[in-house]
């Protein structure tokens, strides 16, 4: 199937939803349009185990509590790698140190981000969209909607939990086990109900039927588009439908390699999917991608489990960076790694840690002022005030919030954040 982009428009159907809705043209951001990979360290990472070291601070139960006294290699320390102080343990979490040795010069660590909530859904909403409630999608969705519309599917969600907000028509999901393969490659055999003997696909049109089907659906789409205008929601629904169908057709026609890289049943972990991320971005199939770092940081019962989670995450992030480098993407791609919250300064009675309403993030790649830390936290993991323009901790600064951070990422990838976060000052401290 060979689809012309915007062919439904050429057929005389409705104009774009933006024009129909009378939304203002968007002022261009100072940064060029960049690709974005949004990595979610799911569950709330204990930043004192990595990005925000607090060893020796009496008010914080650090990772040194987990040291094996009988293993001299199992020792925590604070190392400054590529200009960034980190909590390292080269026995338990070797990939963290290795990552910063390789990529630290390109990375900015953002500490002391205030989130203001302590439940996972509320924190995810805030940290990823910049709003406590509202119609914003996450950073990847917003960026895709403004600088990625030339891509067939501007935003590809590999995490399964991306927040698309009002921009769902620009977003695709691969599914937690790459189920998208079944939909893209209709030759994928899938067994039917138990005892039926059925193996899908039961029926697929012949290639020779494709253009007639496409023409038929476009005609039906044009007729539907004639209904636009009278009712605002009808207009948006029809526009989203036509937009989505056009993009689905493009994904089918131009996404052959991508479909081949999906393996039904394989978990969409960062390590597994890093090559796919590279392919998606190099092929121009999408502008932004969201994916999970792997593992789960929600260690209420036993905080020593954080070590394995950090190791898993940075193994994956390292693989991602290698793939982006191999794909020649580093100069045009921003990678954001963030968790929705951190964990309490002290351990609970079970030896775990509960939720805490600040977090840290890591931003790498194009346009990033690498090899440094911006912001900071107190010895009780409260946010320190910062100058949002420089990232310098200063008593005359303000508490850096989740919305400031999201605004900073949006600006970094070429989006004017004022459209989505009109009341939020932009956190530029990690910009080059």
């Amino acid at each position: 199937m060979n689809s012309n982009r915007r062919s439904f428009l050429a057929g005389g159907a409705a104009v774009s939803a933006l024009a129909t809705l009378g939304l203002p043209r968007i002022a261009a951001s100072a940064s060029p349009a960049r690709k974005l990979v949004l990595v979610h360290a799911d569950g709330g990472w204990d930043v004192t185990v990595g990005l925000d070291p607090k060893l020796g601070v009496s008010t914080i139960d650090g990772p040194d509590l987990d040291e094996d006294p009988n293993n001299p290699e199992d020792r925590e320390s604070v190392e400054t790698i590529s200009g960034i102080p980190l909590a390292t343990n080269r026995f338990k979490r070797p990939q963290l140190a290795a990552f910063f040795e390789r990529w630290g010069a390109r990375a900015a660590v953002v500490n002391g981000l205030w989130v203001g909530a302590i439940s996972h859904p509320a924190c995810i909403q805030r940290v990823f969209t910049g709003q406590s409630a509202g119609s914003n999608g996450d950073m990847a969705a917003l960026a895709a909607a403004r600088v990625g519309l030339d891509a067939p599917v501007p935003y590809m969600d590999l995490s399964g939990a991306g927040i698309t907000g009002a921009y769902a028509a620009y977003a695709g999901r691969t599914g937690s086990a790459n189920q998208l393969e079944i939909l893209l490659d209709r030759d994928t055999n899938v067994p039917g109900p138990l005892g039926s003997g059925l193996v899908y696909p039961g029926f697929t049109p012949e290639p020779s039927d494709a253009s007639d089907l496409e023409g038929f659906l476009q005609a039906r789409g044009r007729r539907m588009a004639m209904r636009e205008g009278a009712n605002l929601r009808t207009t948006r629904q029809v526009d989203d439908l036509l937009e989505s169908r056009m993009r689905a057709d493009l994904l089918r026609s131009e996404g052959g390699g991508f479909a081949d890289s999906l393996q039904l049943g394989r978990q969409s972990t960062l390590v597994n999917m890093a090559p796919t991320v590279r392919d998606l971005l190099t092929s121009g199939l999408c502008q932004t991608v969201s994916i999970d770092a792997g593992g789960n940081f929600d260690t209420h019962q036993d905080n020593s489990d954080q070590h394995a989670q950090w190791e898993t995450a940075f193994t994956g992030i390292g693989a991602l960076m290698q793939e982006l480098e191999a794909g020649g993407l580093l100069s045009e791609t921003v990678v954001v790694v963030v968790s929705e919250m951190t964990r309490t300064p002290r351990r609970n009675a079970q030896g775990g840690k509960d939720h805490w309403s600040t977090t840290s993030a890591m931003v790498l790649g194009a346009g990033v002022s690498g090899g440094r830390v911006v912001g900071g936290s107190t010895d009780t993991l409260d946010s320190r005030p910062v100058d949002l323009q420089t990232g310098e901790v200063t008593a005359s600064g303000v508490t850096p919030r989740y919305d400031n951070f999201v605004a900073g990422v949006l600006e970094l990838v070429g989006v004017d954040p004022a459209e989505f976060l009109p009341s939020s000052e932009v956190y530029r401290g990690f910009h080059a």
Partner: protein
């Protein structure tokens, strides 16, 4: 949308007058009556009206309310009620499954998951379909569970019979509707120092539309959270803590009689340890209600059970408080309006909801009357009305129900491999793709997974379009093969042609019937839409030869028709 609710107040709210059956100020035509019937049927049943029902409203638009009564007595409406409440209670998540061990060895993961996920939803469905006051959602002295439930859970007496049946817990737990179900609290558990607060917020959010998550939480690091006494002191004295905890903690203190944590690991470890000693409590049938835990709030230094400043004793009094709380009625109305009109709940204002809330309360909390008021409102009737609700997106379960109704096809996978099938262990079972996210397409097609994706997508997405394309192909292939293997009277769609019929007049006549069935429209055989569809049929047939050419052409044509925008939007 913002104009139609006051119309209800003017016409019938609380006055006992009938709401106008169809249309608004415009003249009702046969076409508009069919359009309205299509919308209403999709909203309450997830599929189209039958041809007979469309004929009935065409002849007499005033029959729609009586048709609606019939539709709201159907299992399909029950599924809509379940789905609506699944979006609110978030119980349909893959994480709730308990393992297939012991007396439940050999059961599939899907069946075991359903024991937990469906209990509160089945109870609410029963209350609504049985025309019971909606307040029983929090006051019922019974529950509704499937066949495996008495094997999974202790002290559960269930009426005999297949499927979901009324049951009672015999462990002395108070009567509190869904608040007394195991299913709800296995979804919302409480570990460590949470002290039932997640559960309390689930109650406030789902039943009162008053989530504590909406508030900023300015936690100070000055509090030593490892010191229980210091923490308790802070929660009782520091203003930023008291603001939430003074009401949150008393809500949560009702839940100490429900087991805090119960998951796959608990049960598997217990069976590995032979269910001996303390492990027995995590072997089937599982005790969940622990009355001896009622006073545990004292040990943890939280507050006694209470309801926003009022005394409360247990789950029973909690349910009674909620039922009497005006916020419960308002929140219920908000949820129903939001779901049925696909309007974000937080965009609905109190003045807008007030007339419906009054009607709902005056009716004795009649949920079906509430649904009727919403879907028969003039603003709901016509998707193109300037002031109306507009077109809505077909939800994944509605897509499946519509396609099944039209073609008899249900998209079901089964990935259980040979070891599972030979040994009967660790089988997942049949996967209905619109009810599953692990290997299905539920959240990919706009639904929620109940855990990470908690808001549905009420529009079309590229992934949804791909899903509908695959669904259309499979359903088209199925219905053509099935219909042409059956006598004409028993067919779903193609009762007017045979497998080898390629006569244009006959094919066009059949397409006319299919368009009535699919879209509720009356068109002539030379209508442009029929021209389009026949063109697709004719092109596909002309590229084929042999006795199956016409049948294959129907598959291609129905593949197209099942992707018509009017399938994805209603």
């Amino acid at each position: 949308m913002r104009r139609w609710l006051p119309l209800l107040a003017a016409v019938g709210c609380g006055s006992g007058e009938e709401v106008p059956a169809t249309g608004g100020p415009e003249e009702v035509t046969a076409e508009s009556a069919r359009t309205q019937a299509m919308r209403v049927s999709m909203a309450v049943r997830g599929h189209r009206p039958s041809l007979e029902e469309l004929d009935a409203v065409s002849e007499d638009p005033t029959v729609l309310p009586s048709l609606l009564e019939t539709w709201m007595a159907s299992p399909a409406f029950g599924e809509t009620i379940r789905h609506m409440h699944a979006d609110v209670l978030l119980t349909r998540t893959a994480r709730s499954a308990l393992p297939a061990v012991g007396p439940l060895a050999g059961e599939t993961r899907n069946d075991l998951s359903a024991v937990v996920t469906e209990e509160p939803l089945a109870l609410i469905e029963h209350i609504v379909l049985d025309d019971r006051p909606y307040t029983e959602v929090v006051t019922a002295d019974y529950t509704v569970v499937g066949e495996l439930a008495p094997t999974m859970f202790a002290d559960l007496s269930r009426e005999s019979g297949p499927g979901d049946q009324v049951a009672v817990y015999t462990d002395g737990r108070p009567a509190a509707g869904i608040l007394s179900t195991n299913g709800l609290w296995l979804r919302f558990q409480s570990a460590g120092q949470n002290y039932q607060r997640q559960r309390a917020n689930a109650i406030a959010s789902a039943l009162l539309c008053a989530s504590y998550d909406d508030r900023d939480i300015p936690i100070s690091g000055d509090i030593d959270l490892s010191d229980d006494e210091a923490l308790a002191n802070a929660l009782n004295t520091q203003a930023e803590c008291v603001a939430c905890h003074q009401t949150l903690d008393p809500l949560g203190s009702h839940l100490f009689t429900i087991r805090s944590v119960l998951n796959v690991n608990n049960v598997q470890i217990a069976y590995a340890n032979g269910c001996a000693g303390q492990a027995a409590a995590s072997c089937y049938p599982l005790p969940v209600y622990v009355p001896q835990g009622a006073d545990r709030w004292r040990r943890f230094g939280t507050r006694p059970p209470g309801y926003y400043g009022s005394e409360s004793d247990d789950l029973g009094t909690l349910g009674a408080h909620i039922a009497a709380d005006p916020r419960f009625a308002q929140c219920t109305v908000r949820r129903f309006v939001s779901y049925l009109t696909q309007t974000p709940a937080d965009e609905l204002t109190i003045p807008e909801l007030a007339p419906l809330q009054a009607r709902f309360v005056d009716s004795g909390f009649d949920a079906r009357d509430l649904v009727e008021a919403i879907v028969l409102d003039p603003a709901f009737a016509q998707p193109d009305d300037e002031d109306g609700i507009g077109l809505m997106a077909t939800r994944p379960f509605q897509l499946a129900a519509t396609v099944e109704d039209l073609t008899g096809f249900r998209f079901v996978f089964n990935f259980d491999g040979a070891p599972c099938r030979q040994n009967g262990t660790n089988c997942r079972g049949d996967i209905d793709v619109v009810y599953d996210d692990t290997l299905g397409f539920r959240s990919m097609a706009g639904g929620i997974d109940g855990f990470r994706v908690t808001r549905p997508t009420w529009t079309t997405t590229p992934t949804k379009a791909l899903f509908v394309a695959a669904l259309a192909e499979e359903a088209a292939g199925h219905v053509v093969d099935a219909d042409f293997a059956s006598p004409a009277a028993d067919r779903h769609l193609l009762g007017d042609v045979e497998a080898d019929t390629d006569d244009e007049t006959a094919v066009r006549a059949q397409l006319v019937t299919v368009h009535r069935r699919f879209f509720g429209i009356e068109v002539d055989a030379d209508n442009p839409e029929i021209d389009e569809a026949f063109g697709l049929f004719d092109a596909a047939r002309s590229r084929r030869s042999g006795p199956s050419a016409a049948a294959e052409a129907w598959k291609v044509t129905l593949t197209g028709l099942l992707q018509d925008p009017r399938i994805l939007l209603y």
